[in-house]
């Protein structure tokens, strides 16, 4: 991927076209198919939420979008994930480059065993950041609503923070690299309501320049932050070893929550599930 392509990309971001396109994606762990036949066009510059019951494959699909599943032995993908005109799973694509452009916040907080400052600066440096590092660290921590708690201990280990603070540090770390797309796997599940609201504000601000995809179990959060919502579900199949996840419905968030097309969606969003 060359710089000229990157420029094309950013101009396309402004036009709010399709950012990522999943075409008949099936992801399996060994022989077990975790999610099957997903078709989805994720728009640029919007927040897309993945909702659904536990174990239906939301994290699996999310990880497929920046090739994080490569790290799991035996995990395979069929179908195409198109980003910026390329199939991410093409042999010629460098997964490292993919992850520099598509950042991620994980379900469990995982700060590096470095100082708080280094946690932010590390990723920025890797991505070739040339600007004022102190300023970037402060800006990122502020956006992630953790600056006040961190500003006096930037030189202390990131592991010395509480779980929720660690998670916000990880969000700051992802924001600091200024990726084109940010994937967030339940970023607020360990946070108090106030920090959650701050993170949501940050998402609103970020989506002006980035595309955000978020997994959440919190229906109100999906309604508050997302423009599009995808509802996943899982069902047992004959001869299968476990429940296979699939995409039930994907539409504007308003539609999904007010006038869903499927009964399963209706049941889930109104809390009558299971």
């Amino acid at each position: 991927m060359t710089t000229s392509l990157q420029e094309q990309m950013s101009s396309r971001t402004a036009q709010a076209g399709t950012c990522m396109s999943l075409q008949d994606v099936t992801i399996s762990y060994g022989k077990f198919e975790a999610v099957k036949n997903v078709f989805m066009d994720i728009p640029c510059g919007k927040v897309t939420a993945f909702i659904g019951p536990s174990g239906c494959g939301k994290s699996t699909v999310l990880r497929a979008l920046n090739r994080m599943n490569d790290l799991i032995p035996g995990c395979g993908l069929k179908g195409r994930v198109v980003f910026d005109g390329y199939d991410l799973y093409d042999k010629r694509i460098d997964p490292v480059e993919v992850r520099r452009r598509i950042g991620m916040v994980f379900q469990k907080p995982n700060p590096f065993p470095k100082t708080i400052y280094e946690n932010i600066a590390f990723g920025a440096r890797i991505n070739g950041y040339k600007g004022d590092m102190d300023e970037l660290v402060e800006r990122s921590l502020r956006k992630a609503a953790v600056w006040d708690e961190c500003k006096d201990k930037l030189k202390q280990s990131g592991l010395a923070l509480s779980g929720g603070q660690q998670q916000r540090l990880c969000i700051a770390r992802a924001i600091a690299t200024e990726p084109e797309v940010i994937l967030m796997d339940e970023p607020c599940s360990a946070l108090d309501p106030i920090s959650t609201l701050k993170i949501e504000e940050t998402m609103h601000e970020l989506k002006r320049s980035y595309t955000i995809i978020i997994v959440t179990h919190n229906m109100q959060q999906a309604v508050r932050v997302s423009d599009m919502t995808a509802f996943f579900n899982a069902e047992a199949v004959e001869g299968g070893t476990g429940k296979v996840g699939y995409l039930v419905e994907y539409n504007d968030t308003e539609q999904i929550f007010n006038a869903p097309g499927q009964k399963a969606t209706q049941d889930y969003v109104s809390g009558r599930f299971g």
Binding site: M68, V96, V105, F106, N110, P111, F112, P113, K114, G123
Partner: protein, 321 residues
């Protein structure tokens, strides 16, 4: 569905809500027992230390700190200095580590990363561990009859190329420091590899994902995130290896040449404290015993100092990251 059991009856089925006194007694007893066992270890260490300290008193009075800086070892005139052995101990164990740490750490990284199939990695790991099972006397024999003759040409070359430095200015002829260092490498390699491998395996996978998530390469992740988070455990392993190298006796005695003359050259015969003790303790009497005890005390203090130093380094390192 199981039939509903009334809550009162359900609660009755948990019979251990109140712990009987006997159980608390067992708890207490167990605590005392572990305390006893732990103190035995501490007492043993103190006991050994004071025995050695007491034994070395006479030599200390006679030779003072001169013992550390003189190299005469003369039972006839009762003049003793341990410089040869101290130099040999420090140089052989430190150089052995300099070679073994990159080798062991590299092996550990190689067998914890998915560069080759799992079965092959396990085979390599097993082989390294089997290396630790070879008795040191066997390694010593191997060093005398196989390794030393095999590396002689290399040592000769070193002598020709670097003979102008004091470290290579003697012609290698049989036993010497260099083969002793190499045999120490073989002996400490399994420790370093096994402990580093366990340390690397302990690094949570989430951390690796985090590193890849900000766009690092595999090497970036290993060197900036995975190794730093395993560094204290790895340093612990290296210290264990250093202790082993400084105290190793049998194989080293067989190959180091047991020279009593001081020589900086790695190609000449040398000595270590442990090998000197093994060689001389049997026939020693009078002040020679005391001098040997003094040397043993130095070995203990050296090991202790090295450990403290390592702890300090680990603390410095973990602060930096």
């Amino acid at each position: 569905m199981t039939p509903d059991i009334p809550p009162a009856l359900l609660a009755d089925q948990f019979t251990l809500r109140r712990r009987p006194p006997s159980e608390k007694l067992v708890d207490l007893g167990f605590r005392q027992l572990t305390l006893c066992l732990a103190s035995v270890v501490a007492l043993l260490l103190l006991g050994i230390f004071f025995t050695v300290l007491h034994g070395s008193e006479e030599a200390f009075h006679n030779f003072g700190l001169r013992f550390l800086t003189t190299s005469s070892w003369d039972p006839v005139n009762e003049q003793y200095g341990a410089l040869v052995a101290i130099y040999g101990t420090l140089v052989s164990s430190l150089l052995a580590l300099v070679i073994a740490v990159p080798l062991g750490l590299g092996t550990a990284i190689f067998i914890t990363e998915d560069l080759i199939p799992l079965s092959l990695r396990e085979a390599i790991g097993l082989m390294v561990e089997l290396l630790a099972a070879i008795p040191s006397v066997v390694l010593g024999l191997w060093a005398i009859f196989v390794m030393e003759p095999a590396i002689r040409p290399v040592l000769d070359l070193l002598n020709q190329l670097l003979g102008w430095t004091p470290f290579f200015n003697t012609v290698p002829q049989g036993p010497g420091m260099a083969p002793a260092i190499l045999i120490l490498v073989v002996m400490v390699l399994p420790i370093i590899t096994a402990i580093s491998r366990d340390a690397l395996n302990q690094v949570p996978p989430e951390l690796r994902q985090g590193a890849y998530g900000v766009g690092t390469t595999r090497w970036g992740a290993i060197f900036s995130v995975i190794l730093p988070s395993a560094v204290s455990a790895i340093t612990g392993g290296v210290m264990l290896a250093l202790g082993r190298a400084m105290g190793e006796t049998m194989a080293v005695t067989m190959i180091i040449g047991n020279s009593l003359n001081f020589n900086l050259s790695l190609l000449s015969p040398g000595n270590t404290i442990a090998s000197m003790l093994a060689n001389q303790f049997g026939e020693a009497d009078g002040i020679q015993v005391s001098a040997l005890m003094y040397a043993a005390l130095i070995l203990m203090v050296l090991t202790f100092a090295v450990n403290v130093f390592a702890q300090w380094i680990v603390r410095r390192l973990s602060l930096r990251y």
